[in-house]
Symmetry: C2
Subunit: 505 residues, 2 copies
């Protein structure tokens, strides 16, 4: 029995792994047999609209199938799809497609083993305890939102205690809540407990009050006992795939749990981490939050997926794909363009290669992954495999802790969206929102500038108007929200709508 | 491999069983090896307050451990505790206690394998689709409530679409929703689909509109794929225990799924079915709804649990326990009183036996089950075992289908609460509510009187004032709510508060 088997158990069609226990056992036993896998980041072009994916999951699945066919021990780490998307039917599933599919897509798409539901329940439990604290006079306002796994137009704004208190409240999608962020970022149940205790429940006469001051933490952690365990499933070709934690890098972290990636890296030589929507959301967050602030592994290579039409059909937006590829190369991450062809696009291969050459890309990887799966890629992976097998493990990345929030925002705008500091502008109310958040943190005993920055924006835009000429693009800063337990500060950017509670379609 | 193994799979610490598939396979193979177990109903005295249990689950566990020690192949079927209760901490767990415990109480109490959460998600999905139907003009009012697994004072009454529609809405606890009732009562996924299709989503110009008219049923049934599978776990002594569907017989069905009981009866000789709160709620519903209307198995014997203090400390309420015992005996169900002693009550045994003799009960079974588990019972079960092993399988019970709703209510009041027909009174508004419900059913193409009656009341009272003298006790009828998909009509009774969304404590 291998070490990981002692920490795994069957859950119906999948296995669940006690990643916390396994990683602790590795830590306590430096002689244990383990690998030191490298991270291959799969990210994408900015989509033309939120409901249209470029095919990151399909690519991820095809890539590991192809890498394994080439003799590489590769695995993938995916985020659990939001049932909001699958149930609402706007985007179909999020478990690959065609020949590049998971073996149990219906399970992955429809609630998995209840992980997201348990996190929803625990976050709503916190709200119920905050209500009790209001009744008992411990706080006079609640600062944590309720969550729902399903989208609902009517829940965007609600009033609770109707006819009595008539208190305005928000409901957000489960994957975007602070408790999900805490599960993503924590390395142990103790850390989860500490982070929940540090969450700001509400305020009393303007001063922050944390959950640790009035709740039994075990009620929350007991509820999360199974939710913290990553799922192990496989592709139709039998390649291993770990699934854990939620999507939506545009309005939250949108990365898989750090422990699921660390566990996969101890078990496989190459670990494909999916990060989307586009590179401006998913890759930005993996690099600038997971790696810089929380010890995630810096990628040894990246693949940026696009569709031929996304890349080239709208001339005003054609700058985005090369921007993403060049930005990652500029960070010394060898970056491979990958074009996911749809039916009827086979004749575009030569022209796509020519465009890639003009842009001085690496040789692009091109295939119809839905139709052909990993076989479409096998023969095109020589350079990628060479890179993954010969590059040294990347050095520790540089933290931005202590950088003033606005300075950090300007840095992200320039690096990830291509907008220079002087075109980062403030919407009315931003400064007041920043001042309130700064004071809230000071009152709670820490500095706002020590929190990791989470940009909140539309998935389909990087700037206020991506179609504007390069020298006219701006990024507007709108408002600031502190998640003290997760250790992040969320800042709403750009003038496009960023609703954490969409309408069902 | 036995037949059931083919339909079972490991889910972490428990097994989940595809009861639909297994029962269908039995049906298709009359020669298959199977048992025809008898149902032993465990119900209880009416509790003094909702948060105080008599120990039904503890008794159920001790009973099967004792029966198995006596060589009987006994198993139990329990309802899944509501996390509302365990998380709120008002009642502790609901998985037995002390020596009469389940082997993984923390799992049972804290969300099991996500069954309740999936049902919550699916019911809330229906509300989201109803909202979409409003947007599209298919309906102009929504008649299905949202649900929450957690109690919340503020969610009792809410307004959604704040600042625009400001629509009043209700949120109820998940175990009490129509979709939970559908899962409890259905024998196949097809039946669940048909029942969901028959649910009245809302109305358009006063006329009912069913979900089947506008949703894709697979979105709901896919979400329930694992939730419909009962869990198999065990007591600390290794006795088999099936757990499925939710509690709260005072405001809903509060019985385990019919298929979980049927499956258990095909695998064991004696199946203990737990039904509570008191006999006026749990037993009434097992007998009058499950057995009379949905083909559930009539009990071959019953055990009615009480605590010495519940039975005897309040003279004004001391009529309730003998009423329950005599009512069940009057239905030709051999009924055994069981007194669950607490610490310091051992010296009451003789006096309890004397009281039981005065009341002409069968010999009472008495023990401290928390302290001594099944061992407290083993030597006291001769009569019960004799009854279970020699009695014929009970005949089919009589349906009330077609009986006028008020006549049915009067029958229940007399039989289950001891209040004669002329003291069943109408609260202002009841007649209007009944008229509206009758019309709604007529417009939907069926008769209100063909629905099964679900009484909704406080768990701690049977009448408007249980402490009043027998000839002054009344039952007040308050309002009527149709659950067309589940095939039930809910009627709120008595003047005490019946909140399906308690406050966290």
């Amino acid at each position: 029995m291998s070490a990981i088997d002692q920490f795994s158990s069957q859950y119906g069609l999948v296995r669940k792994i006690d990643a916390f226990g396994y990683l602790k056992s590795l830590e306590g036993n430096p002689q244990a047999e383990r690998k030191h896998g490298k991270v291959l980041l799969v990210t994408a072009d900015t989509p033309l609209k939120a409901s249209r994916g470029e095919g990151k999951t399909t690519t991820t699945i095809a890539l590991i199938d192809a890498l394994r066919a080439r003799g590489i021990d590769a695995a993938a780490v995916l985020r659990q799809p939001s049932m909001g998307i699958t149930a609402a039917g706007s985007k179909g599933g999020a478990s690959g497609g065609g020949k590049a599919s998971l073996s149990h897509p219906e399970l992955i798409d429809w609630g998995l083993c209840g992980e997201m539901a348990a996190i929803a329940c625990a976050q709503n439990l916190l709200v119920s305890f905050a209500e009790k604290a209001v009744d008992e006079g411990l706080i006079d306002s609640i600062l944590v939102p309720r969550v729902s796994e399903l989208p609902s137009r009517s829940l965007r704004q609600i009033a609770v205690d109707r006819g009595k208190g008539d208190l305005p409240e928000r409901v957000v999608l489960t994957p975007t809540c602070e408790l999900m962020q805490i599960v993503v970022l924590s390395r142990s149940m103790e850390e989860i407990g500490q982070r929940v205790a540090a969450m700001i429940a509400g305020s009393k006469e303007g001063k922050p009050v944390r959950f640790g001051e009035f709740i039994d933490l075990w009620r929350v952690t007991d509820m999360l006992a199974d939710a913290v365990k990553p799922v192990l499933t496989e592709t139709c070709e039998g390649s291993p795939v770990y699934v854990h934690c939620g999507p939506f890098a545009n309005v939250s972290l949108g990365i898989p749990s750090l422990v699921s990636v660390e566990m996969a890296c101890s078990l496989h030589d190459v670990v494909v981490v999916e990060a989307g929507y586009g590179a401006d959301a998913g890759a930005q967050k993996w690099l600038d939050i997971a790696c810089r602030e929380y010890g995630g592994l810096w990628p040894s290579a990246a693949v940026v997926v696009t569709r031929a039409s996304t890349w080239r059909d709208d001339p005003a937006l054609a700058w985005r794909y090369p921007f993403h590829v060049n930005r990652l190369e500029g960070l010394d991450i060898p970056t491979f363009p990958l074009i996911n062809l749809w039916d009827g696009e086979d004749d575009q291969v030569d022209s796509l290669k020519a465009t890639a050459q003009q842009l001085e890309f690496r040789q692009p990887i091109i295939g119809n992954l839905f139709r052909d799966g990993g076989q479409a890629l096998e023969s095109q992976l020589d350079d990628l495999i060479e890179t993954l097998t010969t590059s040294p493990t990347p050095a520790q990345s540089h933290s931005h802790k202590g950088m003033a929030l606005v300075e950090n925002l300007r840095w992200v705008a320039e690096q990830a969206y291509g907008v220079p500091a002087d075109r980062v502008i403030y919407q009315d109310g931003f400064v007041e929102s920043l001042t309130r958040a700064t004071q809230l943190c000071a009152d709670a005993g820490f500095s706002l500038d020590d929190l990791a920055l989470v940009a909140v924006k539309s998935p389909a835009t990087m700037t206020d108007n991506d179609s504007a000429p390069a020298d006219q693009r701006t990024v507007t800063l709108k408002k600031v929200e502190v998640h003290a337990g997760a250790g992040v500060v969320q800042v709403n950017l750009t003038t496009s709508l960023t609703t954490p509670m969409p309408k069902i379609v």
